[in-house]
C-alpha cells in the first residue's frame, strides 16, 4: 500500500487544523465555541464523505441528508430498543447507511448526470414520509428520540473523540484516493466510457464508492445524534444537504484540504449568526450558496494551490 500520502502537505495541514481546534477549545474554554467546533467536525465528515463519491466521479448525489437522517434515527432506535453501546451504535449507523446506500445506488446509478442528481434529491424529500410510515409500522415514536447519551460528560472530551473520528475518516479517504480505487475514481470522473472500453466494470466500483461514502455520512448522523442528544425527523431536512454542499464546494471539488478550513469557517459563522439573527441564518446561507455556485464554482481550494 502506498503510504506516501501520510507525508503530503495537504494531509499534515489537515491534521494541524483539527489539532488547533482542539487546543483552542481548551485554551478559550467556551462551551459555545467547543460545540461549534464539534458540529463543524460532523459537517466536515459529511462533506468529505460526500465529496469522496460525488466530487470525484461527477455523479452529484443530493441524497446525503437521507443517509444522515438514517444514521441519526437508527442510532436512537437501537439505543432505546437494544441498549447498544456507543461504539456499536456508530458501527450500526455505518452499516445501515452503507447498506441503504448500496440498495439505492444499485438502482439509481443506472441513470446519469442531472437525472441521477434529481433521483437522489427525491430521497430526502420522501424521507419524512418514509420514516413516518416505517416508524408507525414498527410502533416507534415518530417524533424522534430524546435523551441520547453524549460521547462524554465533558464537551471538550467529546470534541477529541469526534476529531479522532474525523482524522480516521480523512486517513481512510486519503488511503483510498492514493490506491487503486483512487485511480478508478479519477478515471470515472474524466472519461467513464474510456474506462468501460478498457474492460473495467465501473458500475460496481461506483456502487462500492457510494456505499462507503453514504456509510461515512451515516456515521456523521450518529455523531450528530450523540452531540445533540436527539435523533428525529428533522435530521432529514435539506439543511443537512445545504451545509455540507457549501463546505465541499467552497472547499473545492475533490479537495479534502479545502473542506476542513471551509467547514470550520462556515459552521462557526452559521452558529454565531444563529445566535444573533436566528432564522435569517438559513436565508443568508441559501443566498450565499447561490452566489457561490454562480460566481465561484471552483471554491477556495485554488487559493491554497
Amino acid at each position: 500500500m502506498n503510504l506516501g500520502y501520510l507525508k503530503s502537505k495537504g494531509f499534515i495541514l489537515s491534521l494541524l487544523i483539527i489539532l488547533i481546534t482542539v487546543i483552542l477549545s481548551f485554551v478559550i474554554n467556551s462551551p459555545y465555541l467547543t460545540l461549534s467546533f464539534l458540529i463543524s467536525d460532523i459537517f466536515i465528515i459529511m462533506a468529505v464523505g460526500w465529496d469522496f463519491s460525488s466530487g470525484t466521479t461527477n455523479y452529484i448525489n443530493f441524497g446525503i441528508s437521507f443517509f444522515f437522517g438514517i444514521g441519526a434515527l437508527f442510532t436512537g432506535f437501537f439505543y432505546y430498543s437494544f441498549h447498544l453501546t456507543i461504539p456499536l451504535l456508530i458501527t450500526q449507523a455505518f452499516l445501515i447507511s452503507s447498506f441503504s446506500g448500496f440498495l439505492i445506488t444499485i438502482v439509481t446509478l443506472k441513470v446519469r448526470g442531472v437525472f441521477f442528481t434529481l433521483l437522489s434529491l427525491l430521497l430526502p424529500l420522501i424521507g419524512t414520509d418514509f420514516i413516518l410510515a416505517f416508524w408507525t409500522v414498527l410502533k416507534m415514536p415518530t417524533i424522534g428520540y430524546y435523551g441520547l447519551p453524549s460521547l462524554s460528560n465533558s464537551l471538550q472530551i467529546s470534541l477529541i473523540y469526534i476529531s479522532i473520528f474525523l482524522i480516521v475518516i480523512i486517513t481512510l479517504i486519503y488511503a483510498l484516493y492514493s490506491g487503486h480505487i483512487g485511480l478508478i475514481l479519477k478515471g470515472i470522473g474524466d472519461d467513464e466510457e474510456a474506462m468501460n472500453a478498457q474492460g473495467i466494470n465501473t458500475f460496481w466500483y461506483k456502487v462500492l464508492i457510494f456505499s462507503i461514502s453514504m456509510g461515512i455520512v451515516g456515521i456523521a448522523g450518529s455523531l450528530y445524534a450523540f452531540s445533540t442528544s436527539f435523533a428525529g425527523i428533522d435530521t432529514f431536512g435539506l439543511e443537512f444537504l445545504l451545509f455540507p454542499m457549501i463546505i465541499a464546494i467552497f472547499g473545492g471539488k475533490g479537495k479534502i484540504l479545502g473542506s476542513i478550513p471551509a467547514g470550520y469557517i462556515i459552521i462557526i459563522l452559521s452558529q454565531y449568526l444563529q445566535l444573533y439573527v436566528g432564522q435569517l441564518t438559513l436565508i443568508s446561507f441559501a443566498a450565499f450558496a447561490i452566489i457561490l455556485f454562480l460566481f465561484f464554482p471552483k471554491g477556495i481550494s485554488r487559493w491554497f494551490s
Binding site: 446519469r112 442531472v114 442528481t117
Partner: protein, 294 residues
Amino acid sequence: MNFFSLFFPIIIYGILFGLNYALISIGFTLVFGVSKILNLSYGALYMTTAYMIYYFAVMNNLPLVISIIFSIILTIAIGLGIFYTILKFTINPMIFMVTMLLFALLLQYIYSYLFGGQVGLIIPSLFSNISISIFGVSVNLSLLSSSIISVFLLFIVSFWIYKTSFGRKIRATAEDPEIAELIGINTKQIILIVLSVSILLVSIASILLVPMQEVTPTMWVDPFVIAFAVSIIGGLGKFEWAIPAAFIVSFAEVISQYLIPYNVSDIVAFIIVILFIIIFPNGIGGAKVESWIS
C-alpha cells in the same frame, strides 16, 4: 371491506387526482421539452402563489379575484427572474439545476421567516367546500371543480401545442433546437413563452388545490415529486404523455391509500419512478434517453 366497496372510490378519486396531477405536471414537462432544463424551482413557485394569496387575501383583506391576479403576476415574475438570473451566469445544466434548487430552498426559508414555519395557514377557495355524493362516494366540491377546470386547461394547452402555428414551433424546438433555430424559429422567445405558461399553469394549480390543504414552507415538495414522477413515467420531454402518466401516479397513490393506512403517497410515486427506470427507462412516451442511461 371488499373489492366492490373500494371500486368506485378508487376510480373516482383516481380520475379526479389524475386530472389535477396532469395540471401540476404539464408545465414541468413542457419546459423540459423545449429547454432540456428541469425546473427545480417549480414546486417553490406553486408555494409562492399560495403565500401570495395568503398575503393579499387574508393579511390585507383584498378581494380574492384581485389577490389571485396579483399572485399570478408576482409568481410569474419571480419564476422568470430566477430562470434568467441563472441563465445570465451559466449554461452548465448541473449548476443551473442546483442553483434552481437553492432558489427553492431560499424561498422556503424566506416564507418560513416571514409567515412562520410551524403552523399551516389556510387560504380561501374559489369554490364551496361542501361535499357531494357521486356513486355513493363523498367528493369535495372544490376537488371536483378543480378537476373540471383541469380538463378545460389541459384541452386548451393541447390545442395550443398541436393545432396552432406557435404550437408547431414549440414542437420543433422540443424536437431539435438547432434545426428549429436554422429554419428561423426564435427558440429563446419560445422558451420564454413556454416558461411563462408553465408558471401560469402551476399557479392556477396552486389556486385550485392549496385551499384543500394547508400552506407550509415545505409544501413545495409534493407538487415537485409529482411533476418529476409524471415526467419520468411519461418519458422526459414527451409532454403529450404527461396526462396518461399523471393517471398512473394518481391511481397508484389512491390504491395505496386504501390499502396502506399511512401517508405513503410520495413513497409510492418514488417507487413507480424507480420501477420505470428499471423496466421502461424511456417512459411510456418512448423518450430518447440513451445519453442518461448507462
